[in-house]
């Protein structure tokens, strides 16, 4: 088997953007491994519009957005293998993969870019009581069946969870002729984008019931009805608030989980908040030369940010190889902390020597905050104080750090991001 400098695990938006950036940064030895039968990842089933406003300044569908990058991959002659499952990534960056034609093969890579994306939390992990019939789908599985395979799961739909895929599927199922009766959300706020609530639910008169969950699923063979109930502040159902909906389909959009089995077995340190790898300013994990980007790193709200992040991962992988594959250690490591409503930051550490002039730090908040401030502290000194009319868990936030600003604080140990009322 041919060897490669950079192996990219996953040919979705993150993997594609990383590959293009790595190639443009001067590395010609790149291989993308993709488990599906075409490049593009989850975007292929996202046939709705709204992609690319930041990257291309125009509104594209998912497949169109993906194709912009696929075309670059093809034009640049970047190699890729489809229908290929990566089975293992060893700590020494040997990637083991398998497909029908090549069998099982191993590539000793100089750098690995993790771009595996995420998966949906299934019914089982939610402990929803009731029967276990056909007709229960994660929203993304239903999206694949409808948009790619061309089959309708059912005609009368209840959706649990208001993640973006659930919202998008509420609209899709409606457009395909189904009746979406209700979207129930356990939390007192939606985990999806505001624009999706407006465009996918409000515009179609689909009720969103916050602080509600499914308490029973009926139907021995196939779903026949679902009962939802209001939950209290402890998130336990309140007796007497049950409402029964006859339906044949229950869609679940209850959170996305970065797909990090390979990262874990490689020995990459994980962030328990994001369920993604801990990374430094170069998007490099705890294993030197292993980079992470996209939803495998932390779940994004917009693909534009995935592409931007992945571009940096690709460039940094090339730089790592060009610099001789050395582990960069330094005393000058600044820790990034999220507190007071900010849940996490990506990255978790900054090595000033390796930092670009501008560094985007992304984070999410843990609750809805109105008329609040995103504050940044350099050690104990507040250096940024940006007023925000609304902050919500469904939308990813960012701050931009300037290297020259950090240079003014030579002994800086810790940067803290927090949400403040004033």
């Amino acid at each position: 088997m041919k060897t490669y400098d950079i192996v990219i695990v996953g040919g979705g938006p993150a993997g594609l953007a990383a590959a293009v950036a790595a190639k443009e940064a001067g590395n010609d030895s790149i291989l993308i491994l993709e488990r599906d039968h075409e490049l593009g990842g989850i975007l292929n089933q996202c046939i709705h519009n709204g992609f690319g406003l930041h990257t291309f300044k125009e509104e594209l569908t998912g497949p169109e957005y993906a194709y912009r990058f696929i075309k670059q991959v093809l034009d640049l002659g970047i190699e890729y293998k489809l229908n290929t499952m990566v089975m293992d990534i060893a700590p020494d960056k040997t990637v083991t993969a398998m497909n029908r034609e090549d069998g099982m093969f191993q590539i000793p890579a100089k750098a690995v870019i993790l771009a595996m994306g995420c998966r949906e939390r299934p019914r089982g992990a939610l402990n929803i009581p009731g029967y276990r019939p056909a007709g229960i789908f994660s929203a993304g599985t239903a999206q694949r069946l409808v948009n790619i395979e061309g089959y309708m799961p059912g005609r009368e739909v209840v959706i649990l969870g208001s993640g973006d895929i659930g919202l998008i599927m509420a609209r899709r199922m409606t457009l395909e002729g189904a009746k979406v009766k209700v979207v129930a959300e356990l939390l007192p706020y939606s985990g999806g984008l505001k624009r999706n609530i407006v465009q996918c639910l409000d515009d179609y008169g689909i009720p969103l019931k916050l602080s509600h969950t499914v308490v029973d699923i009926e139907g021995k063979d196939h779903v026949t009805a679902v009962t939802i109930a209001e939950v209290g502040p402890d998130r336990k159902p309140i007796p007497g608030t049950e409402e029964r909906y006859t339906c044949d389909t229950l869609l679940l959009s209850c959170g996305l989980i970065p797909e990090n089995e390979l990262s874990r077995s490689a020995g990459v340190s994980m962030n328990p908040v994001t369920s993604g790898p801990v990374v430094n300013e170069s998007l490099e994990t705890s294993i030197p030369g292993v980079f992470a980007c996209g939803n495998v790193l932390h779940v994004h709200d917009l693909v534009d940010y995935v592409s931007e992040e992945a571009k940096r991962a690709g460039q940094n992988a090339v730089k790592y190889i060009a610099d001789g594959c050395k582990e960069v250690t330094g005393d000058n490591v600044i820790e990034l902390c999220a507190t007071d409503g900010a849940r996490y930051t990506v990255p978790s550490t900054i090595n000033k020597e390796r930092m670009d002039d501008l560094l985007t730090v992304r984070f999410r908040v843990g609750d809805v905050y109105k008329n609040s401030f995103v504050s940044v502290y350099f050690d104990d000194e507040r250096v940024m104080h940006n007023e925000k009319r609304i902050l919500a868990p469904g939308e990813m936030e960012q701050i931009i750090l300037q290297k020259k600003k950090l240079d003014e604080y030579p002994n800086l140990k810790k940067i803290t991001v927090k949400i403040e009322k004033e």
Partner: protein
């Protein structure tokens, strides 16, 4: 067609009986109301091969449990199914209950259970560090084991089928009458079946079937048990099967590794009326989580990947009823087969087989095949072994189920074998595709494509598990004309 024997039910009991009968020169048919074997009590239980200390001394249950446990090692080898004697501990957490442990030990000895031992607190904690702080002592039963109930059931049925036993699925017995010809006439939704002998292995419906032919009525109560199955990452939380001390409702909530490396927690015990009532309840799951923490510390319950409920076929006297029905000659009951029914199934098969051999004067077949090869598994194969397999059949190079690393080759094997899979659950129980942490979110569209291609089943007709459990309803926009 006149059969010598009709077995009603293709769960572990019916399949074990069918396999034993397949040793003899006799024609046997198994009638199953569901679309596959292993669809009732057999599919949802603790998957434990019990040692046999729990059943009442002198009971048939005790005898068949101990015998079934003894048989399991060789049977698992013959039928190529994974089985491991991981040992069980009955954990006492109250000083005043230590005598109960001793009683259990004595009962086990009387039942013929080997190698039992009482452990003190320190010994118990040394063997199993994640036991509760409150442990006072434990009964140690090294012969207890873990097995895959699906594979045991499927393997026995496949082996019976290889040896000439017919299986009729989606065939529900609605009535049974003794004909003037002296044979049993079974009315089903798929026409009439006639047999000289009938074996009733109908699980929670064994009372309904029995009561069709006997004036001496029996009653089977479905006793529901909720379970949680936890991710493989926490499968090693305990090494042994951890039981609380038993109560009159059963063996209590156990915590155990499964043969495939998950952690199982359960069951609860709630008597219900509905024989199809295998729905989980919030109260049941809450109860389960509360109880499991009594004996095992830091139980990683957040790592649950699925919860499910099973129904035990509880007969009022808590004893197996395995005999020819007094007022219905040539009709043999296997009723009240609740825990330890899975463990006992090979022994039940043996007992019924011997009984019928004598009753019917059966002769052994010269060419009976005692072994069966399971679905060829790729997990744990070396790169060279994988490549040899892929060279022979490229389908082994395509992963369909990401979580459990199941290849297309394994799924094809599961479909194209005796009594092969025809549904998503059928594939799942034969290969584990869809049984991992994403619970078939990734693989189900891919498995549907394979079922469609291999069996010619239209997408709309592909089911989760037969009946009306179709996955999709119809095409979104109808067939494209001219295609």
């Amino acid at each position: 067609m006149l059969y010598d024997v009709i077995v009603i039910g293709a769960g572990v009991t019916g399949s074990a009986v069918a396999r034993e009968l397949s040793r003899y020169e006799t024609n046997v048919c198994v009638l199953e109301k569901c679309e596959d074997v292993c669809e009732g009590t057999s599919k949802a239980n603790s998957a434990i091969v019990h040692a046999g200390f729990d059943a009442a001394e002198g009971s048939l249950m005790a005898k068949l449990n101990v015998r079934g446990n003894e048989m399991m090692g060789d049977l698992a080898k013959d039928l190529d199914i994974p089985f491991k004697r991981n040992g069980a501990m009955v954990v006492c957490i109250h000083k005043e209950a230590l005598d109960g442990l001793k009683d259990l030990y004595n009962r086990g000895i009387a039942n013929g259970v080997k190698e039992l031992k009482i452990l003190n607190r320190e010994e118990a904690l040394e063997m199993e560090p994640n036991l509760s702080e409150n442990v006072e002592g434990a009964l140690w039963a090294p012969t207890s084991g873990i097995i895959c109930p699906f594979e045991l059931n499927i393997a026995m049925a496949e082996n019976a089928n290889m040896n000439g036993v017919d299986f009729r699925f989606n065939t529900e017995v609605e009535d049974i009458k003794k004909g003037e010809d002296g044979n049993w006439h079974l009315r089903t939704n798929n026409g009439e079946y006639v047999a000289r002998y009938v074996v009733n292995a109908a699980g929670v419906y064994a009372d309904v079937i029995h009561n069709m032919v006997s004036a001496d009525k029996i009653h089977i109560t479905p006793r529901r048990g909720d379970y949680c199955l936890l991710d493989k990452t926490v499968g090693g939380h305990v090494k042994h099967t951890i039981f609380p001390q038993p109560t009159n409702l059963g063996k209590g909530v156990l915590v155990s590794p499964t043969i495939h490396g998950n952690l199982i927690v359960g069951p609860t015990a709630v008597d219900i009326e509905n024989k199809e009532g295998n729905n989980t309840t919030a109260a049941g799951i809450d109860d389960l989580i509360a109880k499991a923490g009594d004996h095992v510390r830091n139980l990683p319950i957040r790592n649950v990947i699925t919860s499910f409920a099973g129904l035990r076929a509880h007969e009022s006297h808590h004893e197996f009823i395995i005999k020819e029905v007094d007022d219905a000659p040539h009709f043999i009951d296997c009723a009240g087969i609740e825990s330890p029914g899975l463990t006992s199934s090979p022994a039940i098969g043996e007992m019924v087989g011997n009984m019928m051999k004598d009753m019917m004067g059966l002769k052994e077949k010269a060419n009976w095949i005692s072994t069966r090869k399971g679905v060829k598994k790729t997990e744990g194969l070396s790169v060279e072994e994988r490549n040899a397999l892929i060279k022979e059949n490229p389908a082994y190079g395509t992963i369909i189920c990401r979580c459990e690393s199941i290849t297309e080759g394994e799924i094809l094997d599961a479909i194209h074998r005796p009594l092969g899979a025809r549904s998503l659950d059928g594939v799942k129980r034969r290969t584990r595709a869809g049984m991992g942490r994403c619970q078939a979110g990734f693989c189900s569209p891919r498995t549907m494509e394979i079922l469609h291609r291999e069996l010619g089943i239209p997408y709309e007709k592909i089911t989760k598990s037969g009946g009306k459990s179709n996955i999709v309803l119809e095409r979104t926009k109808g067939e494209v004309s001219g295609s």
